[in-house]
Symmetry: C2
Subunit: 418 residues, 2 copies
């Protein structure tokens, strides 16, 4: 960090005011927000953010999938140091998820404007279409198209439940831009986001320097056995899919404990057939969500789960089908950027911890193509995708200051990313 930026700080009052203004658009009961991608509420939110971008003097561009990037020129004409996130929400979302990363980026620009500060490389603030994946699937659509991981044409044809196409909705709300996708290679990408989990709050840490996004694996296990009378069938003659479901749910826990952090395993759904109190279940369908930052370990967890399901089926005399519903490999971030975030947090007097992200984020789309990392701030109670989502103003301020110093350092080429 150069000497003349050491005392640079963002204006938390201005950031909170923008967060509050944007939270009025799509506001729902409980101080929550419903701003599904490409709805009228999303258009109104986009229009407001674009007006702010213009007011801040940014050069605003819209690409063919509706991603919006506002750019502030550098003293040289090099690649952009980019920040940003998304402003679409889930159906009963909060005011920080995604939005913080976009409006913190604008606050960084505003603070630099206040100081009339130049950077060597250009700075950009973006918001990406349909990160949540609620109205159109898949999630992280805009950033994934932007960085060439999803095909534009296919995504434009995707439909919501009512049959409206993404393309049609982009045109309807005026965000079918003309900038080509899969063309921008940023100098670096840094995204500020609320943690959406309890780790920072529980440990009393202000800043998470996010070094990776966990890989994710969704397995569905279907056991098929025999329905029989709960009273007349001896234990030794049972083919009980309810027992097998229980074995999977408990094994998931034991597997996670045995492998240790960061392995997590969740059995969130169990469906039983016929689901009657006095009938041995003839079928059970169990889903297992496995995540790890290490691909080898994630594959080990998968292999152990599959083996256990097969063993249970064999010992209980059941048929078993194991399906993979989703598979995302772990995304490592750039350790140099992670370390820069860590250093900046400490310089600014913040407690900091390097940690993985348990949820997916737009930054994943950039990680394969440019040096990338994320900054987390605490979520009170770990609550997310909920109207009760909340982050303390002090933490918002600290995270945005870390973002500011990190972007300035990167845009001034103070960190060697060659």
């Amino acid at each position: 960090m150069s000497m003349d930026t050491n005392n640079l700080r963002i204006n938390i009052a201005r950031l909170l005011d923008r967060l509050d203004q944007l939270a009025q658009i799509g506001k729902i009961d409980g101080d929550g927000v419903c701003r599904l991608a490409l709805t009228d509420e999303d258009k109104a939110g986009r229009d407001l953010v674009c007006r702010w971008m213009h007011d801040l003097g940014l050069d605003v561009s819209v690409d063919r999938v509706g991603n919006v990037i506002g750019t502030r020129a550098g003293t040289e004409d090099g690649p952009v140091v980019l920040t940003g996130s998304h402003i679409d929400t889930v159906g009963t979302g909060g005011r920080y998820d995604g939005t913080l990363g976009v409006l913190a980026g604008l606050e960084v620009i505003a603070s630099m404007n206040d100081m009339d500060m130049q950077t060597t490389l250009p700075l950009g603030v973006g918001f990406f279409t349909n990160e949540e994946g609620v109205r159109f699937q898949p999630d992280m659509m805009g950033s994934m198209v932007h960085q060439g991981h999803l095909p534009l044409d296919g995504m434009l044809r995707s439909k919501d439940r009512d049959g409206a196409t993404l393309d049609g909705e982009l045109n309807r709300i005026g965000y079918a831009g003309d900038v080509d996708v899969d063309t921008m290679r940023a100098a670096a990408f840094v995204e500020l986001h609320v943690e959406q989990g309890p780790v920072l709050e529980q440990r009393g840490i202000t800043i998470g320097a996010v070094d990776s996004v966990q890989g994710l694996l969704w397995k569905q296990i279907t056991f098929s056995g025999t329905s029989n009378h709960a009273g007349t069938t001896p234990m030794s003659l049972r083919h009980d899919c309810g027992y097998a479901a229980g074995e999977i749910a408990t094994f998931g826990r034991h597997l996670a404990i045995d492998m240790g952090e960061p392995q997590v395993v969740t059995v969130g759904t169990i469906l039983m057939e016929p689901n009657l109190i006095n009938v041995i279940a003839k079928q059970s369908i169990i889903t297992v969500d496995l995540r790890n930052t290490d691909l080898t370990l994630l594959r080990e967890a998968e292999a152990r789960l599959d083996a256990h399901a097969n063993n249970i089926a064999a010992s209980e005399g059941l048929d078993v089908e194991i399906e993979t519903l989703a598979r995302y490999d772990p995304t490592p971030f750039d350790q140099r950027v992670v370390d820069l975030i860590t250093d900046n947090a400490m310089t600014l007097g913040c407690s900091v911890r390097q940690m993985p992200s348990g949820a997916g984020h737009d930054a994943q789309a950039f990680a394969p193509n440019c040096p990338t990392a994320m900054i987390f701030v605490p979520s009170v109670g770990g609550i997310s995708h909920n109207v009760a989502e909340y982050t303390e103003a002090d933490d918002l301020e600290a995270g945005t200051n870390v973002l500011l110093h990190t972007l300035v350092s990167l845009a001034n080429r103070e960190t060697d990313l060659s």
Copy 2:
């Protein structure tokens, strides 16, 4: 057994013919039967059985809850040696459950008529209203009212799903009789029934001499925890009701194995909230069906289950509610009658095993009031309450012959029941 009855045998062709005729009433696809209590089909079935009773010379009476008993006089005017069961079925039932016990009773009478054989005490064959408890609750209603364990007036007021009362339906089909309930104390009660389980078939045994009906306990365990993100929530910070559900389902199995036969434990239903693949369950509702022939052991099983549920809740940081949905104490049968059945089976050359019943039967209503036991014959594949219910003709014949010899012995006071 007196010398002159040693060679007495029933006529299996006549029994099969009656079973087949009755199975035509309410016949459904797959050779099954739907004859719900007090429907038009039940009326038609009752009318046919009553006609057979009259044709056999029985004195037919109908009581106020629609139970029908046909009596054959003895040489003395003592209490009746009674057999019987029910002719109502579940929605997709078979042709033997209940019906066998009634029509085997008629075949016993027919065989004795053929031989012009007298007994000292009168013999009776009954069928009892609404044993299955599908259309009106509770099950075993007619026999329980008959023996004074359920109040007549309350039962007459019970309603089916469409609001029809039991009383109204009895009148509609012409089976609201005028005989008072809770007045008959039989000399003995013996019921022939299909096992509805796999034990006899698996062990290659023809006759079960049923020495008790298992006690039954239905528990519902509700865990309440916290919904959280499956990716961002470390294992140590979870309050996971899906894991707790799994612990109950596996514990149920381990409890049954540890306690040994005849303890059985079944987790037939699990419901999860919100039941989403990537959300830690905030609630799970698990039912546990526990049965044992020994009341002390059944209470031990209950205590161990409750303790385990409380331990899991404490260790996982969950609230837990444990409700009792049903509780029936075990019903012991009369060992002298059980031994008589066993002896008769052996004399007739049949393999025999003394065993408990896992399901409830009309005989339970009689057991507290008179010497009572049951005879089981094998169910192919243990299948019951299913159109595929089946028992081999040789086994029907063997069971009915054992019933014949047992009833004759009891009615001739050859067994000391004083």
